[in-house]
Symmetry: C2
Subunit: 699 residues, 2 copies
């Protein structure tokens, strides 16, 4: 072992020596894994290993034997491409694996064999850290800036949980959120938005550690980036600290200590590092970013570290044990105290404790849907955004941990919780349940994901057209299988005068194309109730609720089928389900009214029409073939779909020869009635198409 | 007129009185238009009217009779919802209308009648300013932050044009770009990214004027926003100035003068305003943001301004004339001098002048495609990103005004221009043609749009999965009908080890769903040549080029159909086009190789297979029915599509019963070959599907 201690640092005590050993173990494991996989990134692992070491062994309040302890500090690797840093740490810390049911498997979260399987099929060590794939991975990162955004959601959730649940004798929630981030995070707008919001909210439990390695893929960052990052963050309201040498454990320790002592704002620690530290040819250059080194380079780096150059995946005796002990000795007692606190808490505040348990388990409270409204038939009707607001409020009153808001459009999205103790979340009221995300859709998405990862049921809202600004987090909610509710209102040319920039056309298709996301576009107030019900009942799938700006008639459900059909995605809304129809009118959302009007005209003429409400393709596709054939009998191909959106994908339900009353261009600025005329969304036009379909199929 | 001069300011000279008259004309026109339309926003028009007045009458170098003069200063209303401000200014300035062919129509850009048609169908005054709809509208704005992003592209283009084309005796390009922006722009990440880039690039010709009205839709901005905006912009490298009273013309003038004197960085002018200034009940509150006032409120505001309260759409005598004269007297001589300069320039530098003329006309130079490469058959092949890089370089050498870059992925996207005088665009080299956008995809998109609006042919590149970060500008390029080339590489699970966060699934469908965007996914190097050819030949349609990371075999085009078939979107690649096939294999991009392999197996068994390469749905749909029926004969429904992407939309081409060898989930982290196995992209799987199809259609 003595050779191993000949590190290039001037540290001499055995305690310090063991620190350096652990640091160099992270580095060499990372290099060996990337070399074996012929793929991956060592920039962050080599540069940030000392920071990660100090953070985990000296600061993180984390029990490796209970990585699902709710009050653990969170560690977010926003530089997800440096995943080997995280895997190495999880390995050295001896984090224990927990399965999908919350049970221990008796396996380590990341074994040495797992590390040898880096980036291989079905391994626990995929290219970027994936939530649910590896115990200890708090969020899926890789798309830059997302981890930073998530972290704000996590820190905000902690503040909210503390404000709502802590008691003087049981401070159940008081954890911190640490983020390792890089130049990409500093440049991506989503992280800027998130930082601005964190500063406003004075989230003093949030610490971003910026790996200032001065290099990105195209070269030195000064090729394109001249921000004074620290000044920028001070302008956001953050404390900023500087570590001039990323290998200086003392300075790292000092900065983290100062973060812990800061109680009025988030902290950014700028750590100057050398990218690829140790790789003699690559360090400090862009070629250190990706895999641009060979076995000889790795040997050279190992020599530089004073490491046996011919050994791969070496974890020297005692290194993992010492690392684990350091984390565990601090974390385990804290967790055990917490468990005792919680037991007492559960006796003193059984209702609150039950809420916490339900949150952890992803369950809804008993009777959560008891106050769901039901809407009377009404020809004038109500906008589904308005109905949605009522439903949301009814649910939120019985689901105390449903928290969310809008990107500065709450009065339009109708997502404000209006009941007595809802309140506005802000630096002076962390108990508030109405979040004001500001005009920051992208961060809103990432923050809502972070909240969901911290047990809170989150929802987030904007205009459907601006889902474009937050595609990445919506996608990530589906990848991570977290049941965020995305509320998108103003869902078509129904937006009217605001014109094409505000009228979604392709957005419904775009949402429907995301695997694992349920997109639901209800046709009236009662379908809106059912849509929210489905959304809330999900434990692993996010939902996009697509709601109208304009009023939609509330259908008479004694005359037409009940709205509960929505849960099957599509159902026969009008017409006898046992009758063989002459023509099928298919619609979603606001266009169901047109379908019904056409249906009544056809019926008056003795034509056997059917209306199928198809608010959710995804839910419909989960039904068995028999059910689907009963709704859309394969032999009846006289079909018309009516939807104020692009036609993409509708061939699936109407066939290539079916009629599509849909949009083929962008919209226009005008009152809605004029737009409906212009783009052919009139009862006459739909009636004509229906008759053409009948004639064509007979001919 | 004397009553009109009783304004609430203490200005007394008739000159100042006329300023106030013009300012209040902007305000009252805007209120009257919004009131008549029952829709729209007066916040910016009321608060910023003095700023707009000072800017246009005293600073803008703009000839109302030649709004297409290339060296005009640009005015960008990033707060697009305040469109009436822009329409009022265009009306008062007497800007003359130019039609789609660049000819004067003899009409004003915006007449008083047009203003009365605010937000009505087909009017020249749509809800948000729309490029091509109204002369004088430099870009389509509304989605917040986009105008700011565009402005950086415009300012950058000006620097580039100046560096490339100016001569000591002919400074053809030296214009400025002015932006009116709001709280939304300050909060949106895209604007943060753009500001960071503008600061790095030291774009001293760029001036953002921030309407600091302290109010957004949900309430006071301090509900969610605590940035020290000026400090933040100084951290980006901007000069910052402050106007404490948005009604103080002298202070506005001073700030604009200081901007003009600043030659080393962009300028942010923070103008403190009162939102809804004049509306007694609403001013300074969130209710002033949208339409929340009635006729009485407007009367009250008019009384406050000292305006005849019963007159609507009043432009007092002399106001438009004086406004026009002020703009014109400065702008017209400058424009005329420029024309003379250009005439001399054209004689001295005919080649450069021809380039400028071509740029203005949206034309390509003669022989632009003469150096396009052609690739020899090669079983190992070349990644289409690599082929794309070669093609791009060949085109760029002959199209000197093709300028673009990547969001820090140039070495991966292969978009770097490598020839001698290409160079890197930066603060020390405005003549460079390689842009380094940094890790700022969203701003990259908005900047590329701004460049295209300033005559430069722009391209921008990132991984396909990160098109999610820039959906809004891609959409806007289609709405504006500007031929930006979006280069998206790493186009499928072919990404391999980077895993699901980096593997696009829904993105092809998402691009195909955007009206007016041509999405092209070429199958080999020679189709990549044709794809770039199509992209360059567009004058009104943007193109998304979707390219592979992994090598694709270069097909032997003597054996299979020529790649020129790409221009029709889809074509019979393999099999006799006159034969009736037993089964049709349809593919795009990297999956064509699998289709060909399957085709050869089927042929070996005596089965009449056909392969259709369908790289662009949009180009294919533009072909006539006869052609389409010849490629995909309607009677042959034994069809298999193979595409490493979600199946959304493919029913259109293979029918509900056709086989779809596509993705139904997210991808995974593993070497590509393992992923192909896992997800069923193997020759055996495709062969089996083809045979099933043949059997099913016969049965």
């Amino acid at each position: 072992m003595s050779a191993l201690l000949k590190t290039p640092t001037d540290e001499s005590t055995s305690q310090k020596g063991s620190a350096q050993l652990a640091i160099d173990t992270i580095r060499t494991l990372s290099m060996d894994a990337v070399l074996k996989a012929h793929s991956g990134h060592v920039g962050a692992p080599l540069g940030l290993a000392p920071t990660a070491y100090a953070l985990w062994t000296e600061f993180m309040r984390y029990d490796p034997s209970a990585p699902d302890w709710p009050n653990r500090d969170r560690f977010v690797l926003s530089v997800g491409h440096g995943s080997m840093l995280l895997y190495s740490v999880l390995h050295l810390a001896g984090v224990e694996e927990i399965d999908a049911h919350g049970k221990k498997t008796g396996q380590p979260a990341v074994s040495l064999d797992d590390i040898k399987q880096f980036r291989q099929l079905s391994s626990k060590t995929p290219g970027h850290p994936e939530y649910r794939m590896t115990t200890g991975v708090e969020t899926t990162t890789g798309p830059l800036g997302q981890g930073c955004g998530n972290s704000v959601g996590m820190a905000l959730a902690e503040r909210w949980l503390a404000a709502r649940y802590n008691k003087p004798d049981a401070p159940l929630f008081d954890h911190d959120v640490f983020v390792l981030c890089g130049d990409g995070d500093m440049m991506e707008g989503v992280a800027s938005e998130a930082a601005s919001m964190a500063g406003h909210l004075k989230l003093s439990n949030l610490c971003w550690i910026y790996d200032n390695n001065k290099v990105s893929i195209e070269g030195f960052t000064n090729l394109t980036f001249s921000d004074d990052v620290a000044e920028r963050f001070r302008a956001y309201g953050w404390k900023t600290l500087h570590v001039a040498d990323g290998n200086d454990l003392g300075a790292i320790r000092e900065a983290l200590t100062e973060f812990r002592a800061t109680d009025d704002r988030p902290t950014l620690i700028v750590v100057d590092t050398v990218i690829g530290y140790g790789l003699q040819k690559q360090q400090g250059t862009a070629s250190a970013h990706g895999e641009a080194f060979d076995a000889d380079d790795v040997k050279g780096a190992k020599r530089f570290y004073g490491w046996p150059e011919d050994q791969s995946f070496l974890v020297p005796d005692g290194v993992a044990e010492a690392f684990h002990a350091a984390v565990s000795e601090r974390g385990r007692p804290l967790r055990e105290t917490w468990e005792a606190d919680f037991a007492r808490y559960a006796k003193a505040y059984p209702e609150l404790a039950a809420q916490i348990e339900a949150m952890r388990a992803g369950r809804l409270p008993e009777g959560w849907d008891k106050a769901l409204p039901s809407f009377e038939p009404d020809a004038k009707g109500v906008a589904s955004r308005d109905a949605g607001g009522k439903v949301l409020n009814a649910i939120a009153e019985t689901v105390p941990y449903l928290v969310g808001g809008s990107a500065d459009l709450a009065p339009s999205n109708k997502t404000k919780l209006g009941f007595a103790d809802a309140g506005s979340f802000g630096p002076d009221n962390y108990a508030g349940r109405n979040l004001h995300f500001g005009i920051r859709e992208h961060a809103m998405g990432a923050i809502a994901n972070g909240m969901a990862l911290s047990y809170v049921r989150s929802y987030a809202s904007t205009f459907l057209v601006f889902s474009d600004y937050m595609r990445a987090p919506v996608r990530l909610s589906a990848i991570m299988e977290i049941p965020v509710v995305w509320v998108f209102t103003h869902d078509s040319i129904g937006v009217g005068e605001d014109g094409p920039t505000h009228q979604p056309i392709e957005h419904l298709a775009n949402l429907r194309a995301i695997p694992g996301l349920n997109t639901i576009r209800p046709c009236d107030a009662n379908e809106t109730v059912e849509a929210w019900r489905v959304a809330m009942e999900q434990t692993h799938e996010p939902t996009a609720l697509v709601l109208s700006r304009q009023p939609l008639p509330t259908l008479d459900r004694t005359k037409y089928a009940p709205a509960s059909g929505l849960k099957r995605g599509g159902y026969v809304l009008a017409g006898d389900p046992n009758e063989t129809p002459d023509v099928i009118l298919i619609g979603t959302g606001s266009e169901i009214a047109l379908c019904i009007e056409t249906y009544e005209s056809l019926r008056a003429e003795g034509i056997k029409a059917r209306v199928v409400s198809l608010p959710s393709w995804e839910l419909y596709e989960k039904q068995d073939q028999a059910y689907r054939d009963s709704v859309l009998p394969p032999e009846i191909m006289a079909r018309v779909v009516v939807e104020q959106a692009g036609s993409m994908g509708w061939d699936r339900y109407v066939g290539a020869k079916g009629a599509k009353v849909t949009m083929s261009t962008f919209g226009a600025s005008a009152p809605l009635a004029k737009l409906q005329q212009k783009f052919g969304f009139t009862a006459e036009a739909v009636l004509a198409k229906a008759k053409e379909q009948i004639a064509a199929r007979k001919g």
